[in-house]
Symmetry: C2
Subunit: 434 residues, 2 copies
C-alpha cells in the first residue's frame, strides 16, 4: 500500500470544551495516532477562537492564531478545517462553506448545522471532491455515524431509536429514582454541570432532534430535514408518571425515533415509555444509546457517553485519522443527488401504543364514560389501573392501549378532557417498541 506520509495539517476553529480537548488528545496520543494512520502524523497548524486572551487548558505553542476562522479556508498549509464553533447558522456555517469552497476537508461536531444545511454542505463537498466528516455530531464518541454510513451498509434500515441527550436522561433517571419534580432534577443537573443555565436546547428536545435528523438521513438515504422532525421535550413529565410507568414495567426516556412506515418517514422526538428489559430501558444517567434495526443484522445497540470533551474529541480524532488514511467516502454515503426528499408520515398516521394518565373524580361511572370514548375511537385498552379511593376527590386512572394512530388518540383525549369528572389535561405518552 502506498501511504501518504506527509502530515495531515489541520486548523481548529473554536476552542471551547471540545476544541481544547481535541488539541490535548492530539498531543497526548500523537504517537499512537501517527501509528494508526499508518505513519502519517496529524498536525495542528492553526487555531481560532473568539477571545484570544482567555486562559485555555490546551497546547497552543507554535500554532498560528487566526482572528477570523473563515480565513482558515485560505491558509495554504492547511488540509482540514475542524469546525467546533457550533450553531446552525452564522459563523460556523460560513467557516464550513468557505473551507469546502477553497478545497479543504471539513470535520465538524455541529449537529444543528448538519440538521439544517447538511445536504447543501454535502453537495459542496462533493463538487469540490473534499470530505465532510461529522462523527462527533451525534452521540459524541459512540460511533453511530460510521456504523450507519458503513457498518450497516448491507441493511435496509427499519428504525433508529436513540437516547441522544445526556441531560434529559439524567433528569428522567433522577426523577424516577428519587421521586423528584422536573424542576428539582433540572437544578440538580445544572449543579453537576450536566445542564446549561438555559436548558431549553436540551430539555425541550431540540438537541435530540438535530442529532436525529442527521442519523435519519444516514439510515434512510434522505436529506437531513430538521423541519420534518416533531419535537417535544420532557418538561411535562411528572414523577408520578415515572412511578406508574415503572409499575407497568416501563421506563420513560426522551427518545429520538426515525422509522420507515407505509406512510413515509416518521421522525419525532418526545418522551416515550420503553418496556423494561429492552436495550434502551437499561440506559441511565448521562449515558446515550442508539438502537438500529436492520433487516439483516437485527437490533444493534451502541451506548456510552454522548457528550463532553473526551468522548467528543475521540470522534473528531477518528475522523481525522480516517482522512489521514485517505478515506474517500461521501458525507451521507450516497451522492446528494440520490438522497431523497423526506416524505413525512403525517402526524395523524403515526401509530403506537399509548400511556394515558387522568386525574378523575372518584365517583361512579367515570371509568365507563372514559372507556366508552375510547371504544368509539376504536382504541383498544391493554390495561387500566385505578389507584387509591378518595370519594369525590381526584384519583389517578392509568390506561395503556394497543397500537392506534395519533389522530384517534387526539380525538379521544379531547373528548375525555371535556368530561366533567376529569380534572386537568389528560397526560398521554407514546409507548415505544423497537
Amino acid at each position: 500500500m502506498r501511504l501518504d506520509m506527509t502530515p495531515l495539517r489541520i486548523a481548529v476553529a473554536g476552542l471551547g470544551t471540545v476544541g481544547s480537548a481535541t488539541l490535548r488528545l492530539l498531543k497526548q496520543n500523537a504517537e499512537l495516532v501517527a501509528t494508526r494512520t499508518g505513519g502519517r502524523p496529524v498536525a495542528v497548524v492553526a487555531v481560532s477562537a473568539r477571545d484570544r486572551n482567555k486562559a485555555r487548558d490546551c497546547p497552543l505553542e507554535g500554532l498560528a492564531w487566526v482572528e477570523d476562522p473563515r480565513q482558515m479556508a485560505l491558509l495554504p498549509d492547511v488540509d482540514v478545517v475542524v469546525e467546533l464553533i457550533g450553531g446552525a447558522d452564522g459563523m460556523a456555517k460560513d467557516v464550513c462553506e468557505a473551507a469546502l469552497r477553497h478545497g479543504k476537508h471539513v470535520v465538524t461536531a455541529n449537529k444543528a448545522l448538519l440538521a439544517r444545511h447538511g445536504a447543501a454542505l454535502a453537495a459542496e463537498a462533493e463538487k469540490q471532491d473534499r470530505r465532510l466528516m461529522f462523527e462527533a455530531a451525534a452521540a459524541a464518541g459512540i460511533p453511530i455515524i460510521k456504523t450507519l454510513r458503513e457498518s450497516l451498509a448491507g441493511n435496509r434500515m427499519r428504525v433508529v431509536q436513540g437516547i441522544l441527550n445526556g441531560t434529559c436522561n439524567y433528569i428522567l433517571t433522577r426523577m424516577g429514582e428519587a421521586n423528584l419534580d422536573f424542576a428539582v432534577a433540572l437544578r440538580e443537573a445544572q449543579e453537576r454541570g450536566y445542564a446549561e443555565a438555559d436548558p431549553a436546547m436540551d430539555v425541550d428536545g431540540y438537541d435530540t432532534a438535530h442529532k436525529l435528523a442527521v442519523l435519519a438521513a444516514l439510515a434512510f438515504g434522505t436529506k437531513p430535514d430538521f423541519d420534518s422532525v416533531t419535537v417535544e421535550g420532557i418538561r411535562r413529565i411528572t414523577p408520578v408518571d415515572l412511578l406508574y410507568a415503572a409499575e407497568l414495567k416501563f421506563r420513560i426516556k426522551l427518545l429520538g425515533v426515525a422509522r420507515l412506515t407505509d406512510h413515509g418517514l416518521e421522525q419525532r422526538v418526545g418522551p416515550c415509555l420503553v418496556p423494561v428489559g429492552t436495550p434502551l430501558s437499561k440506559i441511565d444517567d448521562v449515558l446515550n444509546a442508539v438502537l438500529v434495526q436492520g433487516d439483516a443484522v437485527g437490533d444493534v445497540t451502541l451506548s456510552g457517553r454522548g457528550a463532553g470533551g473526551g468522548p467528543t474529541s475521540s470522534a473528531v480524532v477518528a475522523d481525522l485519522v480516517d482522512l489521514a488514511r485517505g478515506y474517500a467516502g461521501l458525507p451521507f454515503a450516497v451522492p446528494v443527488a440520490s438522497l431523497s426528499a423526506t416524505r413525512t408520515t403525517p402526524a395523524d398516521r403515526r401509530e403506537s401504543g399509548w400511556y394515558i394518565r387522568l386525574d378523575v373524580k372518584d365517583q361512579p361511572g367515570v371509568v365507563a364514560d372514559i372507556t366508552a370514548i375510547l371504544r368509539d375511537e376504536a382504541i383498544s385498552i391493554e390495561s387500566l389501573l385505578q389507584r387509591g379511593r378518595s370519594p369525590m376527590n381526584a384519583v389517578p386512572v392509568i390506561i395503556t392501549t394497543h397500537r392506534v394512530d395519533e389522530a384517534a388518540m387526539r380525538r379521544a383525549m379531547e373528548k375525555i378532557g371535556k368530561l366533567e369528572s376529569v380534572r386537568d389535561e389528560p397526560c398521554w405518552l407514546r409507548i415505544e417498541n423497537a
Copy 2:
C-alpha cells in the same frame, strides 16, 4: 469524487449458513448496496462448496461453480474472494493465502484462522497491496472490528471485555433464571439450535478466545496471538453459583477480556462475576456485547446478535461495500511490522476480586480456619455468607475478596482445599469490573 463504477466481482467460498445468507442479502438488497457504494454494484460471479448437489436456499443462477476454492485465486474476473469455509488451517487458510498471493482482496468471517495466522495473512495482504477484511469474524454484525480499527483510533485502549459467544450466554442465562444444571441448559440450547451437537468449541471457551485474540490485536496493536489467551469454559458453573452471585448483586458471564497492565497484556477467557448494573451484566440470552474502554471516549458498549446468517452476512456485506468504495486501510490498522509481539501478563500477576464457594462441614472453627489461610496470603475479604445450618453436614460458604493476584489465590485455594472440613474442590471465580 471519482468513483469506480465497474462492478466489484466476488467469489464466495463456502455456502453454509453464512455463505448462503450472504448471497441472499446481496441479491435482496442489491439496489440498496449499489447506492451505498456510490453506484458500484457488488456482483457475485463464482461460488464453491463441498457438495455441489446439496439443496441450498440461495440464488446460484448464472454463477460459476468452482470445484476447488483455491482456484478462485486464479479467476481473472474476480476482485474479492470471500472465505466462509471456517477452520484455523487446511482449506480456509489455503484459500485466503492463494487469493492474496494472486492479487485478490479477501473478506473472511474466520476467527480461528485470524487468531492463529492473522499476522502472516496481513503481511501477505500488505505485500500484495490488497485488503484483508474481517468484520464478520467477531460478534457478527456488531461493528466492533471497525470500531476498534477506526472509530476509536484516537484512544489509548485500556480494556476490551466481551460476551462473545451466544451459546454460552444463553446457557448461563437459562441456568440462572430457571435454576438449571449446565447439562440441562446445554441440551435446551441444542434443541433450540443455539448449540452444536459437539458443543466444545463454544462451551469450553475456544470460540470466545479466537474472537478475543483478534479484538486484542486491533485494540492494543499486537500480533493476534491465540496461544497467549488463557481459556476456560463454563462447564464447572453450577446453578447455585448463579444464585449466590445474584444475591451478591452479580451476574455470571463468560467473558473474553484483554487488558493492558503494568506487567503486559492480559488475555483471558473464563466465567466471571460482573456487577449488576454494568453494561455487560444486562446482556442476556444469545446476545453478544463488547465493552471498550478508551482514554478519551470512556466506556463504549456495542451489543446485538453475535451469530447467525443475517447478522454475519451483514458484516460480510459491510466489508464488501467498503471495498467497493475503495477502502484502503490495513488489516490491523497499522503495518504488520509495527504490530508488537505480545508481552503476556504472567498468570500469577493477574489481579482481580474473587468469588469463592466452599462446601464445608457445619462445625465450629471452620470459618476461622479458612479466614486464617486467606489472611496469611494477604487476601482481604469483602463479604462472607454462610447459608443454612445443618450440623455436621455440608453447607456452603461464599466469600468475595478485594483485588489480589492469582498466585496468592491459587496458594490459598490449595491450602483451603486440603482442610479436613472442606468438601469438594473450592470453586473460585474472578470478579470483573471494567
